[in-house]
Amino acid sequence: MERQRLVVIGNGMAGARTVEEILTRAPDLFDITMFGEEPHGNYNRIALSHVLAGEEDFDSIFLNSLAWYAANGITLHAGVRAKRIDRFAKVVYADDGSETRYDKLIIATGSRSFIPDIPGIRDRYSELRSGVFGFRTIEDTRAMLEHARGGERRAVVIGGGLLGLEAAHGLHKQGTEVTVLQRSATIMNQQLDAAGGEVLAGILQNMGIRVITNARTVAVDYVPRVGIQAVQVEGQDPIPCDMVVVTAGIRPETSVALISGFTVARAIVVDDLMRTVDDDDVYAVGECVQHRGEVYGLVAPLWEQGAVLAANITGTDPSARYSGTKTTTKLKVAGIDLASMGVRTPEREGDEQMVFSEPKRGVYKSVIVRENKVIGATMLGDASRVPFLTRAFDQGLDLPETRAELLFDLGTTPEQSVADLPDDAQICNCNGVTKGTIVGAVHDGCTSLGAVMDATRAGKGCGSCKEQVCAILAWAAGDAVTVDASANWYVPGVPMGKPELMAAIREQNLRSVSSVFAALAPDGQPDARSKMGLASLLKMMWGPDYVDERDARFINDRVHANIQKDGTFSVVPQLKGGVTSPEQLRRIADVAEKYDVPMVKLTGGQRIDLLGIRKEDLPKVWADLDMPSGYAYGKSFRTVKTCVGQEFCRFGTGDSTSLGIDMETRFQGLESPAKIKLAVSGCPRNCAESLVKDVGVVAVEGGRWELWIGGAAGAHIRKGDLFVTVDSREEAILLAGRFIQYYRENAKWLERTYTFVPRLGLEELQAILVADRDGVCAGLDERLQESVDNYADPWLDRDAPATPGQFRTALPLVALPLVPVRGGDA
């Protein structure tokens, strides 16, 4: 089949991009001829700002080299201007005298700089004077650079829009002293409201760029053979300078369309297929077109327009339609983050505007909302919410009720950013699971959180990424997300919530883990992953009447030490309240030497950790230490961190160490749904970090104590809630214990207090535990007391192992081949 002739007038970003789109769809459909006024291939005009600033060089910004045209069989007339189109003869006449026939024609003539008629700016031939520049082309940029480097050191930029500020920044980077004149009261007034413009002007001034607003330029002073002298501004002293850059806007380049009889309003009018309204064989694209009344001066719309045009002109997708682009702009000035989209200010009654302004730090944020959708936003100096806002703006997403989340990353809405993450973004940092892996699991049929976690191991480390895993699941599965029935079960192997389970255990008098499985699990099936949670629960419920089956314990609880990566264990003796003595330290040192302990370390809970102990040495180590267990291994009460307190500290207002020691004595060894860490601080300086503990106590002036609950500072950070302030240490111990017992009885397995407290609500907990609304306090206190009375130091196991293999190594016993010992002559 004979190829059709396609002629493209314009070899800028729109023309070349559209040709690329056509070639990918129908590489052999057309013989293509292109006219470009500029004498080279297509380059990235947007990057000229970076070239001017010295951040890129000219060579690096070319998008299509001359070789590309040759390789694709395109005839390029570079440096040739198309003058006129004969629509009836289907011929393009160019200024080199050529006549080119076409079957299809694309007009992509772009824009040109608008140079206002300021006296002195042009010579008598209406050419720009030497030293006056537009900022549109490679030639403009090259000339400016040469001029600036040629010893000229003062520039005035007329026009403080996006392009003007980029020009000012570029020249400033070249060492030029720059003044920006903006005719209106606000710089970048296309994108910024007045307040935002002021913050941006402040940033520029701090960078050393002078900005004058409300500045009407009335003349450019020029001395023949010397050059530009100054710019005259109405009502001000003349501004001396050696060069002038005019960035007063761009105008669509429509002259060839106009004289050829096409409909031109503000630009060449096209329909939704990107065809001119006058001729079905003539299309137009880019900054030279007007579509549904809009003329765009940005790059994003021309990508979309080019794709639609190509789909139609090639016939590959005749249903493709262009419906306009929601534009977002970014200022390309190094060191300034500025993104803007949609409208600048509220336009209708009922439009909401959220504004945050911090001029000193150069931060300004404004979001305009209409009917719960973002219709405009400006983010200056902080780009953290830009990806989310861009999506919300483009896709018309419903917005969070807390509008502050539009302006700030409050960490509460991770689901709104997951779509922006690349596939190789690591979501679970413990198990190294990427977004792509999670999405893959969803596509393979996992529709619940549990299924995704089981399939990928995401969220199975510290668990802090679970929310994000959930968000990715929701994003990838959409409506197909299912809720795990097991989400509310206390443990996976017994289909019951905790209250139900406890009632059944009590009713059926189930005292061992195996009896719970037999009575309550489906088909009586035991489940290894449920054993630990059930053991903890039964021990808490039955105390000394619990039937302790050793297999129900996790290895740490079997040997009362924390298993390490190499199968050895860590031993942490109890140091109540973090207080020790020379005698204890001596014993610890002796043990460390005797057993060749590879590492001795201070823990975050103010204790001493002996790491790398072999399992078979544990009983001997405990015996030599002759100190009680510090419980550094269990889902249990762990430790009470204290500060020095009033005994020594000159600021101390309460005896924090002795209260800490008393609390540890009382709560030691209590098993619980997850670990519990305490702290007591002797004054509000809070040196023991009480506000980020499961239970934190702070002494305040007047002999009073504050109790804070639900704090955390590990995988999850949460400041605790002030639970109650009491008058005595006895009350502090009582209420701390009551909260701990309530948590033991009501929290889900592995649910830390930082989840438990907000789940139930502080006020609810205060009503139950302080005001005794439900009359349960006496019972809680009593049951806690029973547990306390039943405490026995587990390290006394050393005298009689619970099972024959309790302290036998399960380490891989690497059987090395025996190498004969060599004699002295070797």
């Binding site: 290894a528 054993k531 996790f554 298993i563 990566k565 059987a815």
Partner: protein, 105 residues
């Protein structure tokens, strides 16, 4: 298997119910697990993931979970239930109160 040998490893009473214990038998490191019905399973003792001690894991009638990173292994086959690993598995039986395991020679 002709090149396999049976080895008397230990007394059944040396194993606690549903707890593991490691033995080295003919250069093989075995983790033995005694079930509630007094049958015994024998798997490799070293988790192929990061070298965790399998015998220190918790088990039920079907699966043992490595204590380090919670990879689970099918007691009957050695196949990992939540990862791309496999543990060697050996025939084990109880005879006159002794645990006898078949290992390659």
């Amino acid at each position: 298997m002709s090149d396999a040998i049976e080895i008397d490893v230990c007394a059944l009473g040396d194993l606690a119910i549903e707890e593991g214990r490691t033995y080295v038998v003919a250069d093989e490191q075995l983790a033995l697990f005694r079930m509630r019905d007094d049958t015994v399973h024998a798997l490799g003792a070293v988790c192929p993931h990061r070298g965790g001690p399998i015998a220190d894991g918790q088990c039920d009638e079907a699966v043992v979970w490595c204590p380090l990173h919670a990879f689970g292994y099918d007691l009957a086959t050695g196949a990992c239930v939540n990862g791309d690993f496999r543990l060697p598995r050996f025939d084990a039986r109880v005879e006159d109160g002794r645990v006898v395991v078949t290992v390659p020679e």
